[in-house]
Amino acid sequence: MSHTFKKAMNRLARWSAIALAAGAAMSVAAQDVGVTATEILIGEVQPMSGPASLIGKAGAAGSKLAIAEINANGGINGRKLRAIYEDDGYVPARSVSSVKKLIDSDKVFGLTGTTGSSHMVAMLPTIEEAKIPTIVHMAPHPSVVNPRRASVFMIGPDYDLAGYVPISHMVEKMNKKGGKYGILYQDDDFGKALLAGYQKAVKQYGLNSVAEIPFKRGAKDFSAEVLTLKDKGANAVYLGTLTTESASVMSEFRRLNMDVTLGTLWAGQLPAAVKLAAPSGYQYLIPDYYASNYDAAGLALMEKAKKFLNADDYANFNRYTVSGYIGTMVFAEGIRRCGANVTRVCVVSELNKLQNFSTGGLSGPVSFNNPKAQAVLPIKLFQTDPASGTVKSVTDFIAY
């Protein structure tokens, strides 16, 4: 080799070494995706338009509330929190493209909102590939954690408890063991989970189940279904229906002069649902793992909402707002425990260790330190008071 060439190579080697060292030094001080010295960026995919917009807007509002409260208290270890909300219109294909946008274009640090259950399942491959820390809190579904994905954490019990708890209460506390039981369930896997919970209770207590009636989502008129229930003599019925459908069913019960004890699922405690069902005069049971608008903890959160949220979001406050609030708070806790060096790897490992995190009475304590990283929350039972259009707690948070 010629002398000049050797000198050039040496110089090149020297500069490369310096560059590498500088690069290594910078990468140690460099932040993870979505994290800067002053801010942490998170993302949410929510159904803000379309059929589930009531839920999506409330969830996003809860998250905004948590972020506003955190930032008002100085942020997390000196960094403010900011979120981007993408609308998927409750269509799984759009959920996938929204989450790709959040991960690739917006480069968010983590996800705290994951829309509906089948949408989350559609997004899972993208989320797994990106290894992005994700909190699922609005639509818990078994296949999200089965098999366990390293960076995904789920808050919420399995749906079949929604079917099990009210029936169990009717038998043990309301003396309805001898009653004729029936269930109206939606003809998809959400409804079938409720059916499974109902059947578990029937089998456990040896109940007489006279009618198990499926219906298609979107049905408005339940006259045929209610007539079938009456024909079979059912007097303790579980309604796997939502908001307006429940009101329509109860109105049919009233028309046919049926004396029934009713239970429904957690969406039944939405203020809109309670108000619509009130004229029919039934005091139905509602299980939920989040506080209601009328519990002490819920009222306290509404006070904060009045301060930090706009009028629309405050007026729309419901248990999904609570869900969004808790989801973001839990994620923020994971970030807080990482101190100054906030990386995805660190947050995932801190969340894995999370045990008995308190949400101030809005739910039971949140723990992810189990094989599925699922915080199976205890369930509270409410009962509606049609005269006032509110709900009151019947039990405290009980683990089932």
């Binding site: 338009s49 807007k57 409750y90 294909a93 790709k100 991960i103 089948s118 399942v121 559609a122 998809d188």
Partner: protein, 348 residues
């Protein structure tokens, strides 16, 4: 200014283009598209892939409605059939994914006879509404036949792979979609210049005169439905391969309406119209987002959550504007601009 566009041979009349520059432009266009992955990240590629896949379906719908003149509101049903066929064939019967795509198209084509046969008796709006009924019925059948389709739980779909070469990544799938679109464009161009295409045009413009000329209406109507369903079935299979998870919600009745919007905005009966229309309708939400962002934070805060409804509103407004101002759609705008330049400086 161009002149001398007369032909003196049959081959010349039927040729795809009589200008060599048309081929050059086509090659440049394809090259530009092939280079897109260098500039666009996953999100942008995802959208472009969605446009290619939707274009295949719209080309099919265009053949049925724009060329053969049979209104169909039921193409969401064929998309659904194509997607589920792809899922079931690859998951339950272990058919190689590439072959499964074309088999899905075939299944959709056979299913189209359910609508095609009534079409022989029904006309115009009665046919349109029957096709609508078809979509509802397909949806219910999918939910009902749980053993086959897993009902409402939906099905995960294996990624596309040809002889072991996996197309799972966004970039590779983009090229696969582009290749398939080019294939179907060539098929369509050839169909249009064959006797089948001419028979369809006759069927659309005056079916009784066509019958008088000896064109077998029944055969060509059924063929139109089957070919159109084949395209849409393939598009459905590609949608399944892209999102890798399907359930009945993915293909709602809104998709049929969106499809018609793409045809209207693009221009009926024209291939480039179909593709331009698809691209515009799919880009529209993003364009609106950009517009809202550009309008500044104050505007955004004013609208707050209402932004999503405003986007929906704008969608309808765009359709109405096109119908009112440019019924021939983007293809019409293209044609008029082209003529302007060709006739320059004597254009009016």
């Amino acid at each position: 200014m161009r002149s001398r566009t007369y032909q003196n041979s049959y081959a010349g009349l039927v040729a795809l283009s009589n200008q060599p520059t048309a081929w050059v432009w086509a090659a440049i266009g394809i090259l530009v598209l092939a280079l897109m992955p260098a500039y666009f990240g996953s999100f942008g590629l995802n959208m472009l892939t969605a446009i290619f896949v939707a274009s295949i379906g719209i080309l099919g719908l265009n053949l049925l409605s724009g060329v053969a003149g049979q209104i169909s509101l039921g193409h969401a049903g064929f998309l659904l059939i194509g997607a589920y066929s792809q899922a079931i064939l690859t998951t339950d019967y272990k058919v190689p994914t590439l072959i499964a795509i074309f088999l899905s198209g075939l299944v959709a084509a056979i299913a189209s006879l359910v609508v095609g046969i009534p079409s022989l008796r029904l006309k115009g709006l009665y046919l349109a509404i029957t096709t609508l009924a078809f979509t509802f019925i397909v949806r219910h059948v999918v939910l009902f036949a749980e053993g086959l389709t897993r009902g409402s739980a939906g099905m995960p779909v294996d990624a596309l792979s040809i002889f072991g070469f996996s197309f799972k990544s966004d970039v590779r799938f983009y090229y696969a979609a582009l290749a398939l679109l080019l294939l179907f464009i060539i098929i369509t161009l050839n169909l249009m210049r064959s006797r089948i295409g001419r028979a369809w045009l006759a069927l659309r413009d005056h079916d009784i005169a066509a019958r008088a000329m000896g064109i077998d209406l029944m055969r060509y109507k059924l063929l139109a439905f089957m070919v159109s369903a084949f395209y849409t079935g393939v598009a459905g299979a590609m949608v399944a391969l892209q999102t890798r998870f399907i359930n009945v919600d993915t293909f709602s009745i809104l998709i049929s309406i969106e499809a018609l919007a793409m045809i209207i905005v693009g221009g009926m009966g024209r291939i480039h119209g179909a593709i331009l229309g698809t691209a515009l309708i799919i880009f529209l939400p993003e364009l609106l987002s950009l517009g809202f962002n550009a309008a500044g934070d104050n505007f955004k805060n004013l609208m707050a959550d209402r932004i999503y409804e405003v986007k929906g509103l704008m969608y309808g407004v765009v359709i109405l504007l096109f119908l009112r101002l440019e019924p021939e759609g983007m293809a019409g705008i293209w044609r008029k601009s082209k003529r302007f330049w060709v006739q320059w400086p004597l254009s009016q």
